[in-house]
Assembly symmetry: C2
Homo-oligomer: 205 residues x 2
Amino acid sequence: MTTRTGRVTCDLTISADGYSAGLNQSEQRPFGDDGGDGWGDKLHAWMFETAEENRAELEQLAGAGAFIMGRNMFGPVRGEWDRPWNGWWGDNPPYHTSVFVLTHHAREPQPMDGDTTFYFVTDGIESALAQAQAAAGDGDVAIQGGATTVNQYLAAGLIDELRLHIVPLTLGAGTRLFEGVPPLNLEQVNSRAATSVTHVTYRVH
Amino acid sequence: MTTRTGRVTCDLTISADGYSAGLNQSEQRPFGDDGGDGWGDKLHAWMFETAEENRAELEQLAGAGAFIMGRNMFGPVRGEWDRPWNGWWGDNPPYHTSVFVLTHHAREPQPMDGDTTFYFVTDGIESALAQAQAAAGDGDVAIQGGATTVNQYLAAGLIDELRLHIVPLTLGAGTRLFEGVPPLNLEQVNSRAATSVTHVTYRVH
């Protein structure tokens, strides 16, 4: 067994009450009822409207060697892959590397422009992590979300570094980070305030 | 009707998953199962072990003109006041002003050393706030906790400024800030990282 240099990281944007998405997620509103008028604009405004002052966090977020995401984060299609769907991000997704999508329904790998390839993993989170680590080489593997997927990896003790981006609103309901996860001993390794988001990085012990 | 200059503030220490206290609160462990060995030492360590670097927040926290707290924050006695109990803080509590305790059971005011007096309010949160504002004059009224009380004031739209002190651990269960509170539009007015706590101040709109 070799020692890996890459870590398992997770960047997640959450409301002040810990939700990464509101209720009623749909193709039109992938982050559900988040107080905005679509496309998660209120939760994720810090990435777009104030990108310049958050450049360090955005670069870190994009820097992983491979990504893992849940089926709901990949798209709104449930059950069998009965209609074409290649993610929310158009022909050239912002990943530019291998992305492993957790699903119960097998599907052939889907290459995209810009070196992104979506792989579909049907045999669980450990298998997805092993495949992502192989793809990442010495790079980090990023658990991309949503919170349901992140919670599974946290509960299994598989995340090394959790980077939260806490935005000034509450959702009151939805998919909540840490829900059902046993108590964790965290170490605050970095914390930085921007205008309308607070970035906190925890090492998970 | 006169315009008040004082605000209604709330300082609350919470875990990264939003709990202000764990399960199984008791006289020996007022903050319940918080991963420490008693007295809320892990949640509130930032106030004691690293007080010097958090001096600004501690002074702000103590600076209100009057305080309001829930019965559980005042003490472990439930139901009638059938045994002597004057709070967790000894003869000279750190408030040095009027403290209004929400309860269903009437009790005479309890003066303490150092100008703290505990008043017991049986007719609800609005009444407690009106009494505290009268006592505070132009000063702020601080909703002292616990989260159940804070959530009632948040849901009623009665808190102007929420100052969270987020510590690096999760509890997984207990009394959670924002639980049952409708979605809030917050404004991040200040955010500061200390070694093992992140302080975030929100204005509540």
